[in-house]
Symmetry: C2
Subunit: 494 residues, 2 copies
């Protein structure tokens, strides 16, 4: 059988890792920066990030979490204090030691103006925001105090991969302080539900909501909530976390407040964050061998119009028609935005434009030629769901519905895929047998003992992704044999 031609080489089957890089490149989502481990997030990639920001900012407004901006430098002594985190972040942070460059003996520039105390570029703003909390929390009247920031952070990575793991990345980090344990704990859980909603409603990614095991939880957290998705190589990707920090964070940061009955207490805090890693998840969940597939709600541009000009004398007529069509389509509401339309008038062949558009994952392509105008119908090429011939009027009346349908199909496909590769194991043997056959999500009764996870990781590079709070059946831990009611999902992971 002749191999079908694909827009992306290699295919997923041939080489999944290289396919991923080729999709990123083909859709112009990002490119390698000169500094190792950093990336240029190109306009087509950044507009997806902006959609995520826009959606989350809408939620933050409703939840009364204001945005702010904290400095990206902190004194070295600051990280020294945070004993519990030092090990992790200190191993991989950018250290600023000088404040200028001077010409050396050979005329080349060399660092000069050495700082008395070196600074580090934030790997997280936790410690800086602790100071903010300390300065603004005095009384129960000041609680809850919530703040969010969208910013860049740096963690020195040795092995990097576009969006999934880069030295500099973009994220939001929100921090909250509460007067009671219950409020803080409830809030942390509510936020992971927000993330699940973002994944489901915008990115069309089905995720599991779970709690991290003792071994995997954030250092300093009492409980870490997570959302976990399955990529097309059946590996797991952690898409976002929300931490209930108890009083650990406020004790370390010496944050105190006067209660209503005039006692001094440490507030209960939480934090949660999402990174540009989400774009990696989006790419790996939906894309195919022709390139990116964008769920319509995850993009600001939904339609690309490609004028098909065979003869110069038709140019004006076709261009005018496309212009008007763009205007009319942009009047259409879709979910929480307006339909976005690009009219590609570049001086390259329509076929080249079409393949560009397919690789970029734009939901709808409209090729408009003289015959289409005369016939009054348009070829509607859907990135998912084939080609359809519609009258101009019908297109305008049904575009929003077509996009919704596509969003739904993309989600269902991903859900079906995940379900097909999710298994239950009630014995240790069954557990390892599954992973010998394929990458998968394996749900098993588990007694949550870090030593067991070390052993599993050694044996087959599988980690506990999360404990599923929705499953409480009494069973025996398949590793220790101890009775348990907690079930965990295991998988190979990014």
């Amino acid at each position: 059988m002749k191999k079908q031609k694909t827009a992306i080489t290699p295919t997923r089957q041939e080489n999944y890792a290289d396919w991923y890089q080729a999709v990123v490149k083909g859709a112009k989502l990002a490119s390698q920066a000169e500094v190792r481990g950093c990336m240029n997030v190109l306009p087509w990639g950044y507009q997806i990030w902006e959609r995520i920001q826009e959606y989350m900012n809408g939620r933050f407004r409703l939840l009364e979490i204001p945005n702010a901006y904290f400095p990206m430098f902190m004194p070295l002594s600051k990280i020294q204090k945070e004993a519990e985190h030092v090990e992790g972040f200190a191993k991989e942070c950018a250290v600023v030691t000088h404040t200028k460059l001077e010409k050396g003996a050979d005329g080349t520039l060399v660092p000069a103006g050495e700082l008395e105390e070196a600074m580090i570029v934030r790997p997280t703003s936790e410690m800086i925001i602790a100071d903010y909390f300390k300065a603004h929390i005095h009384s129960y009247r000041d609680l809850p105090l919530k703040v969010n920031q969208w910013c860049n952070v740096v963690r020195w990575e040795m092995r990097t991969r576009m969006f999934l793991r880069t030295t500099e990345f973009l994220w939001h980090e929100a921090h909250t302080a509460h007067a009671t344990k219950k409020e803080a704990s409830t809030d942390a859980e509510a936020m992971i539900r927000e993330y699940e909603k973002l994944a489901r409603e915008i990115l069309a990614i089905p995720v599991l909501i779970g709690v991290k095991t003792e071994a995997e939880k954030f250092p300093g957290a009492e409980r870490t909530y997570t959302i976990e998705a399955m990529m097309q190589d059946q590996k797991a990707l952690q898409m976002g976390t929300s931490h209930f920090l108890g009083q650990n964070f406020s004790k370390a940061g010496e944050i105190r407040f006067n209660t209503k009955d005039e006692k001094q207490e440490h507030p209960y805090t939480g934090s949660f964050g999402l990174t540009t890693r989400l774009l990696g998840a989006l790419i790996m969940t939906h894309s195919d061998d022709d390139g990116l597939v964008l769920p319509p709600r995850a993009t600001q541009s939904h339609v690309k119009i490609i004028p098909f000009i065979k003869s110069e004398e038709d140019r004006a007529e076709i261009t005018d028609y496309c212009c008007q069509l763009k205007k009319d389509l942009e009047e259409i509401e879709f979910f929480d935005q307006w339909v976005g339309v690009i009219c590609d008038e570049k001086d390259i062949s329509p076929s080249e434009k079409k393949w560009d558009a397919i690789r970029s994952g734009i939901p709808i392509i409209l090729e408009v030629g003289k015959r289409d105008i005369e016939g009054g119908t348009l070829m509607v090429r859907k990135r998912v769901g084939g080609v359809e011939k519609l009258t101009r009027e019908k297109l305008i009346n049904s575009l929003s519905e077509i996009l919704e349908q596509m969003q739904h199909e993309i989600f269902e496909k991903a859900l079906h895929f995940r379900n097909a590769h999710t298994h239950e194991a009630t014995t240790k043997e069954a557990f390892f047998e599954i992973f010998e056959k394929e990458n998968a999500f394996v749900l098993a009764p588990y007694c949550d003992d870090p030593k067991i996870e070390d052993e599993i990781a050694e044996k087959c590079a599988v980690t506990a992704r999360c404990i599923l709070p929705t499953k409480n059946d009494s069973a025996s831990c398949i590793f220790s044999g101890k009775p348990t009611t907690t079930w965990a999902v295991f998988a190979k992971a990014y």
Copy 2:
């Protein structure tokens, strides 16, 4: 006469610089960060920056300038190449030399993992975006190419002041490449007009649009456009610049394209940017001795409702009323947004809340007590324009108009102030006499010779702010006596 009590100490008269810091603090716009020269942009300050972003992003969409994100690190060798800028930026940049921290002999952390080549934190992304242009511009078909990014940049400053001059600041920087000189030059001018519109329509700041003199223009630019505003101490503040760079930038970056007739040419480029300095301008243009004054279009929150609960038994009724009022007011459209309402339910006295609100510059304060509810009228306390008693219905019907009126008054007041302190000088003597009497904008015929500006600066710390393209009367340069048709505005400046 007894001195009137003000919410801000000292007053503008008493000490302008300290008044500025007190306004920033009183309105909770920003606070000093632990690292010298950096600031925490607090939620109330950041929401103004977000308004600016939102407005500008709307304009960028119309102008087809997409957003992207480029890395903040660049190799030291990169700045070495850019001969013309090196002097400027090399003197004040953060240099990253290490990639981790390790415990030293005494147990404290010390920088480790030294980089073979040091990196600098972007003072501007010009050189990084040159690489982007180089990679994406091959043919006339790829032009114009435009890109913008919102990000943080670092320039090591010795004397810093909140918003006006900080080591780390936020900005947008847009870069454009064009096939023809005319297009690039026209675009650079169009962008300064966009900035003027932002200043006028959103920030209510009247600005002069001008061209920088030879001495003041951006190194490497053929022409630098600027907008200049007058602060309440009658000093000038440069609010934004747009540069026409000719082929200087594309030659240095080795950017080339094939023209339609298959020749190799360097594109013509431009760049333009705005920084968080705008918040400094906003504060210093409008605020008074009671604190910040916010033009309604420059804020996301327009109204603060303060419930006035004298007796606990009224709490439920008053709270419900305030909640409903908030909802109703938030249904009102205002300019390009919806009215934003804060209901201050904090457990502190209404009078404390009121002064908080005044210092924060919120346009409208509504104090709601039992009597107001019963009487069906509300006290509408405008930050500018006094107090008015309105029925609930009347308030809802006229709120948008009240805010527009306030926006207008704030602009007119600033314009009147600037005009009152703008003078023409047609002799050198008259010129210096004015500056002996007061800080001012002085318009004078000027032959644009850098040496003259050096002399003036030495004599009285006055700089040429810009050449006014709208004034072309034939005259003699007041410094050199040479005939000229260019007139420049001089002032002391931030």
